[in-house]
């Protein structure tokens, strides 16, 4: 396959994606994606899980384009929230919040939003170009590998997703194990034996992946937020001025290099499962901070535009990078990618190395729609930021009640039986306790979805070697993959340690009066944040 062929295939993809109907689907996807990215408590993974019922009525290309739009849109929307909302967000957006929130408070919110949006566009577009040219080669290589190498790749995915996402290695692995366990319930695909069904006919067909994902993401989140809902008014920092004046020459001059550096960091980090976008944004922030000179360096911690431009670009580039292992190997490394894999499975499209050959029209239409979606997102996010700010003000009781209603809708439409709603509640309560005790959710979802594929490849490998486990590491390619795994691990551990030191430093800075959060509810908490910061951040086990 030459790159000229790929170029023509991409052009054909554009011909498909530019059809008015698909443009509408892409627009719908990015609109929903931006909205859920802006809204706290709901992210792209949850949204794709909740919208899985559309796979019943839409044809595959349309549904995949919608989901891809949601995926990219979610990345854009998140930055708006972390820049304008005066409360701490999730750790993945904490880096953007760090400088962006300070900029907004200093009246430079518009510039922060603009550099985030344009940076996301630049990074998203470059990373999509890289995806279009790298992915076919990876796929061409991947079709040659056998089950043994496949097992090795999935071990890498399991361990990196399990051990590196989240703050605690053991909790991540426990979450992964729970996912693998739930995936075992039902008939064994190879021997048709019942496993862990306990004689129940409801369990014989297995527990539906979408049901578990919706329960963990939506019900677990609603219960958890409900248990600790932040009361009082929602404080949003106002943005002033027209959007055309947002990015001044000076801002642009300081932003373009961080955008490119963020892209260069984000795409490879997204491609290898080294902890997801979280690590990419942190790396980008740390390098921008290091590279800044003179006056700009002093601005770090007080609202430096480089600290928004770099991490936001890295975030979006990583999102495109994640699609490389998903589309070429069928290995998802984030929860959203895992849900997209489920969408492919719903259409009986085999995801794996053969995807580029067997469903070439679909894949190239998907990639083309990413270019289109990126452009739409830039247009949607710059002039229309006012609309997203309005969405941010939706009363929280309604937001989480709405999430619950969507969750029961998704659960019921799996098999059209109310028993699934009860299973939804049970798994949702599990998700509540996982959040409460610091267990990451993503490894469980990835384990749930990759578990059955992993087992069948493992058993195929061992059938070929007649049960000799040494064969699993004897192939040179597999052995190389395991060595790379060790290197990734060593590097990630090093990075994690630096990230923690860095977060501890940030937490210490956050005690300064101008960032005291939650003061609206309790005026007497002037000293409380100090103890809270040390309680929640230092007590993470290492």
């Amino acid at each position: 396959m030459s790159s000229v062929d790929n170029f023509f295939l991409l052009m054909e993809g554009f011909a498909t994606a530019m059809q008015p109907m698909y443009l509408l689907y892409a627009l719908g996807g990015v609109l929903v994606g931006t909205a859920v990215g802006v809204l706290p408590g709901i992210g792209p993974a949850m949204t794709v899980a909740l919208l899985m019922p559309i796979t019943y009525s839409l044809e595959p290309t349309a549904a995949i384009i919608v989901f891809a739009g949601i995926y990219y849109g979610g990345m854009y929307g998140g930055s708006t929230t972390s820049i304008l909302l005066n409360t701490p967000g999730e750790s993945s957006s904490i880096v953007t919040a760090l400088e962006g929130n300070k900029m907004a408070k200093a009246g430079r919110g518009a510039a922060a939003l603009a550099t985030a949006a344009v940076g996301s566009f630049v990074a998203g577009t470059i990373a999509t170009v890289l995806l279009s040219f790298v992915a076919p080669y990876v796929a061409a290589f991947a079709v040659q590998i056998g089950p043994v190498e496949y097992v090795a790749l999935m071990v890498v995915a399991f361990l990196t997703v399990g051990a590196l996402l989240g703050s605690s290695v053991l909790r991540g692995l426990a979450s992964l194990g729970l996912g693998l366990f739930i995936a075992l319930v039902g008939f064994d695909a190879l021997t048709a034996q019942q496993r862990y069904t306990f004689g129940s006919p409801f369990l014989a067909d297995g527990i539906d992946v979408v049901l578990v994902a919706v329960a963990l993401f939506a019900v677990g989140e609603a219960l958890y937020v409900g248990s600790r809902l932040r009361h009082g008014p929602i404080k949003i920092i106002p943005v002033t001025g027209g959007w055309t004046s947002w990015l001044r020459k000076e801002d642009l001059r300081r932003s373009w290099k961080p955008w490119l550096r963020g892209t260069a960091i984000g795409f490879p980090v997204g491609t290898i499962p080294a902890g997801g976008a979280d690590v990419a944004t942190f790396l980008s922030y740390a390098s921008e901070r290091k590279l800044a000179k003179g006056k700009n360096k002093k601005e770090f911690g007080k609202g430096a535009i480089e600290g928004v431009a770099g991490p936001e670009a890295a975030n979006n580039a990583a999102a495109a990078g994640v699609l490389v292992p998903l589309l070429t190997l069928g290995i998802p490394t984030t929860a959203t990618a895992a849900m997209m894999l489920v969408a492919f499975q719903r259409y009986q499209i085999p995801v794996g190395p053969q995807l580029f050959e067997s469903n070439s029209t679909l894949v190239w239409a998907l990639i083309a729609s990413l270019y289109v979606g990126n452009l739409m997102l830039l247009v949607l996010n710059l002039p229309l930021v006012g609309i997203w700010v309005k969405i941010l003000q939706i009363p929280r009781p309604y937001l989480y009640s709405g999430i619950l209603v969507f969750a029961v809708l998704g659960a019921f439409s799996v098999n059209f039986t109310p028993i699934d709603v009860i299973i939804l509640l049970i798994v949702g309560i599990l998700g509540f306790f996982m959040r409460r005790y610091g267990y990451p959710i993503a490894p469980m979802v990835v384990g749930l979805i990759l578990g059955p594929i992993f087992e069948s490849q493992l058993r195929r490998s061992l059938a070929i070697s007649q049960g000799d486990p040494v064969a699993l590491v004897q192939s040179p390619v597999a052995a190389t993959i395991y060595v790379v795994l060790l290197v990734i691990f060593a590097l990630s551990m090093l990075l994690k340690r630096r990230q923690r030191q860095f977060e501890a430093m940030v937490a210490a800075n956050a005690d300064a009066p101008d960032v005291v959060r939650g003061s609206a509810t309790a005026p007497e908490t002037a000293v409380a944040p100090v103890t809270r910061a040390s309680d929640t951040r230092e007590d993470t086990d290492r």
Partner: protein, 180 residues
């Protein structure tokens, strides 16, 4: 009710407020799922013709992972290493866990499950929204009710009518636009 307020001696958590009883129980549950995995896994039939490692090996491996990791977590919690509760824009980490709200929300989801068939999806969904919004502190009740009814009808129209998802329309049976 609240497990985080009770005190268990010897847990050695100097920095964290309250004893980690709940967290300990959760780690023990992970261990016990692994144990159940072994016990129930022994009952999985292996056909004699199986040419590979059979349907039991992987369940055993997963069970072993759960037991080992769970035991490690029990030790960690006992030694005072606590998990960091999930952060979020709407989460007030200083607030005590409000078990009553969790109970109410779970109760309304359960009620919804039992009402879908007798009353139809729109009524059951509207009741869920109304109940959940009230549990989370939204007032006044009539605005909650209006929002609940509109949302339920819109969802029934979009998913039941337009997208063809077969949600039982209940009293809307006969109106083609709401599906059925």
């Amino acid at each position: 009710m609240s497990t985080s307020v009770q005190n268990a001696p010897g847990s050695g958590t100097a920095a964290a407020p309250g004893a980690p009883v709940g967290e300990l129980v959760f780690a023990l549950i992970i261990v016990s799922i692994g144990v159940v995995g072994f016990v129930a896994g022994a009952g999985i039939q292996t056909p004699p013709s199986a040419s590979d490692i059979g349907p039991r090996a992987f369940p055993f491996a997963v069970s072993a992972l759960l037991v080992v990791v769970g035991a490690g977590l029990v030790l960690q919690v006992l030694r005072g290493h606590r998990g960091a509760a999930d952060e979020g824009e709407d989460v007030d980490l200083e607030a005590k866990t409000d078990w009553l709200t969790v109970g109410k929300l779970s109760g309304f989801v359960l009620l919804h499950a039992f009402l879908i068939v007798p009353l139809g999806w729109p009524v059951a969904a509207a009741l869920l929204f109304f109940g959940a919004a009230w549990s989370l502190g939204a007032r006044p009740w009539w605005r909650n009710l209006m929002t609940a009814i509109i949302l339920a009808l819109v969802l029934q129209f979009v998913f039941g009518g337009l997208l063809g998802v077969s949600l039982p329309p209940g009293f809307l049976e006969g109106f083609g636009v709401f599906g059925g």
